[in-house]
Homo-oligomer: 491 residues x 2
């Protein structure tokens, strides 16, 4: 079977059995069924539990998969580890092609777990009889429609035992060796960034059979995916991983971002107790990451912030910066200085204006405080001049934005904007957003002001794929990764 057909068993099954389904809402075996039903899974669902009678959320319990007449594509396991071998045998007998095992207690717990693994290898004839995802995983999520879409549109295929209530379909796919990224943390991040669109999230657990490269290969070919966010504690097949990543470097609108756990010996000690992954050589890990040319993130928060940035840029078909020539528009000289320092530290530059652009700026500024020749624009003096003449403050800023968007030396724009209802009211941010998205350059904002106003502007910008950042450094770092990714591309 081709790789993508195998992955399809897990991502797009037409029927699933939930082995270990439970009437007790506190149990994972209940919540998996609840997630499937509640999120509009269009296939058939069979709750399996030898100790349960009657119905679960309108579905009849069965004692065993063998009691079911219809074809079953996928079995989801939520049972104690020692029961898995026998239940797997029943699945094989039933000709089920995939088993997703959401139970822990395998390699990561030592000898006893290894014994069960050996049994599974034997029963499945090295996974030739049935393919396995996990164990020690939290299932996967496929989002076909936003949580607030119509009854027929919303949902997709949700097999986590964590429950998501708010979500949005988008162009990000997640591959994670930590269950949290298809559980509590994903729930958090989708609520924190309500505009963040997710297409898939796959918790691959111990990778006994299916591993990161299987899903990576699938997402590379899936045109609904632009950003692949990966958390790994080990590389199952480094060579294949590198080759797949290199493939992505030839695709203009696709980017892989990676958090690698266990890059220090302290981290490796931690991962050993978590997934049982073997310690890897730090130098080897660094070589793999360097060769793969992925964008590396430090922690989960950075992973999703980076993913959000690329996601927004791809949504708007922005032209990615290649040289790191950026501008800053600010109302504070101090902020200008700090941004100038940090951009320099990240290898970004403010280009010098040509005479044409400079002359336009000179007209906006008072004589006593001319503009810079380089693309760092402190608009305070220009605003003072505009106010003296009763010109509109926002008109000045918008003119500056238009100038920069049309200046071919500038590849993208960083901005500091003060947002407050007091002191002359909020800036005309909707107009700015229109100006910016009429252009094709990446434009980022660092917002300060009244917290409520900052949230209002930030939300509107996010809805229009313009990212805002809580700190100056994050704004700059997120621009830097766009440049880095362009440099890595070789199409």
């Amino acid at each position: 079977m081709s790789n993508n057909k195998t992955v399809d068993i897990f991502l797009n099954p037409k029927s699933v059995a939930v082995i270990g389904a439970s009437k007790n809402p506190m149990k994972g075996g209940h919540r998996i069924v609840y997630n499937l039903v509640n999120n509009n899974y269009k296939g058939r669902i069979y709750p399996i539990n030898p100790n349960s009678e009657g119905e679960l959320l309108g579905l009849n319990f069965n004692k065993s998969v063998l009691d079911i007449e219809e074809k079953i594509d996928l079995a989801i396991f939520y049972v104690p580890n020692h029961r898995i071998p026998q239940l797997l045998e029943e699945c094989i007998q039933k000709k089920i092609r995939g088993a997703m095992i959401e139970a822990s207690g395998f390699e990561e717990v030592g000898e006893k777990g290894l014994e069960i693994k050996e049994q599974i290898l034997k029963i499945t004839d090295n996974f030739s009889k049935i393919r396995i995802m996990g164990p020690n995983c939290m299932g996967l999520t496929r989002i076909d429609g936003d949580s607030d879409a119509g009854d027929n549109e919303r949902g997709g295929f949700f097999t986590s035992f964590g429950v998501f209530s708010t979500y949005k379909r988008g162009n990000i796919a997640i591959i994670s060796q930590s269950g949290m990224l298809n559980g509590g943390y994903l729930m958090y991040i989708m609520e924190k960034y309500p505009e963040l669109g997710i297409r898939y999230s796959c918790s691959i657990g111990n990778k006994m059979d299916l591993n990161e490269t299987d899903f990576l290969e699938y997402f590379i070919e899936d045109i609904t995916v632009n950003v692949i966010a990966v958390y790994l504690e080990s590389f199952k097949n480094p060579r294949k991983f590198i080759n797949l990543c290199k493939k992505v470097r030839k695709i203009p609108n696709k980017t892989i971002i990676l958090v690698k756990g266990g890059i220090t010996s302290q981290g490796q000690k931690a991962t050993l107790s978590h997934t049982g992954a073997m310690a890897e050589n730090s130098q080897l890990i660094n070589a793999i990451i360097a060769q793969s040319g992925v964008i590396q993130a430090k922690d989960f928060d950075e992973l999703f912030q980076f993913a959000r940035t690329f996601s927004m840029m791809y949504n708007e078909n922005k032209v990615m910066p290649k040289y790191g020539n950026v501008s800053l528009v600010t109302g504070s000289g101090g902020a200008g200085t700090v941004v100038a320092d940090i951009t320099a530290q990240y290898g970004l530059k403010f280009p010098n204006f040509n005479d044409k652009e400079y002359d336009i700026l000179v007209d906006l500024y008072p004589e006593w405080m001319p503009p810079n020749r380089f693309a760092l624009i402190d608009f305070w003096p220009a605003m003072e001049k505009a106010m003296t003449k009763n010109n509109n403050r926002d008109e000045v800023i918008n003119e500056v934005f238009e100038l920069l968007l049309n200046d071919e030396k500038v590849e993208g724009m960083l901005n500091m904007l003060f947002c407050a209802r007091r002191f002359g009211g909020l800036p005309d941010y909707k107009k700015f957003v229109k100006t910016i998205n009429d252009g094709s350059k990446p434009v980022f904002f660092w917002l300060i002001g009244e917290v409520e106003s900052v949230q209002e502007v930030s939300k509107y910008m996010a809805q229009n794929n313009i990212p805002t950042f809580p700190t100056i450094e994050e704004m700059i770092k997120n621009f830097k990764i766009l440049v880095q990714d362009s440099k890595n591309k070789n199409y």
Copy 2:
């Protein structure tokens, strides 16, 4: 006059004249008077404007300081730069001892500004006749009481032309070469972190006369100040700055945090156009920072996050970590791995447990998944065991906290906590807070979960001086600076 008496003219004047006071609420000269009145300044206020008649906020206008009979300690200027020399002469004639000049257009605008500066030097006889703060500054703020305290308690001395509505008195003093830190950004940060207590904020502008070292010396001796947050674009007197910082290293409960703007040539180009400060040698700057032993922050957000952390630790008299031996309590193995990596990168270690502590942990864990021997505690298996026995989940976490707080090998604690009302309800965070503050160790949290629950828990923790962080890396970095500061101390 001693340094502190000079600074007292500016921080604690008994009477002020506002030169350039205006009836127009859009003008800075209005807002300065509004700020003084509205924030309960206990001294006398004299609005000065030759073109205004009648009253301003219940105060009579005067044409000139010379029309006032009573003594005036301080004159605050909000007038165009070219009018300043003549008005200064009047102040000198009136025997006013200090002038705070909130106008720009001096060194930073080139020749014309330098001319005015020369005039000022001559008129003041090199500042022997009157001391000057600024120009190109946004005044200063002294907070005596929280904004929501009683009418007689709230406020202090507010001379910015930015308006703050919500503020809290605390142990942080700010010295800044960017006006934003006594203006829009300070307003933002005080709203963003409502528990952040500020004592003083001084925008020192171009430092024509008074400079950072004058205020630094004052705050070092002021026992209401524990944390001094500094933003500088130039060092006026590097030797004195270093010596003052060295003094702080002998004071157990005082820390200086510095953002230095213009540490790259790109940043220096920016600062030149901002405050007119001369370019400095990068190596020299780094040597000054290294010798001073201050905590360096990268941007304004980091400056205030660091300040908040130290502020909270000093508020609770926490014992600062010296060796970097830290623990992690988490519900996710993946988060454990990433925290382990980043702690290692920041030079922090998880110590090994002695048998006594380890045996207590072993009892909490199921047989199939024993705890780590080192201080990284994934409580998930322990919670599963507790739930099987119908024991309380929070009891387990609290027991772990107590164990770690009493373990003398552990100097402080990092934690990941999942906060959600669904799935068994919010953790008993109030109990945890009590347990933590009965101890003397710094304890930090990275919170995830439902956004609203995260905010609720975060707020309560902040009110109790327990910092929470939006990312894993920030949590670790903020712990690292405590260790760094301890190592710098030599008392």
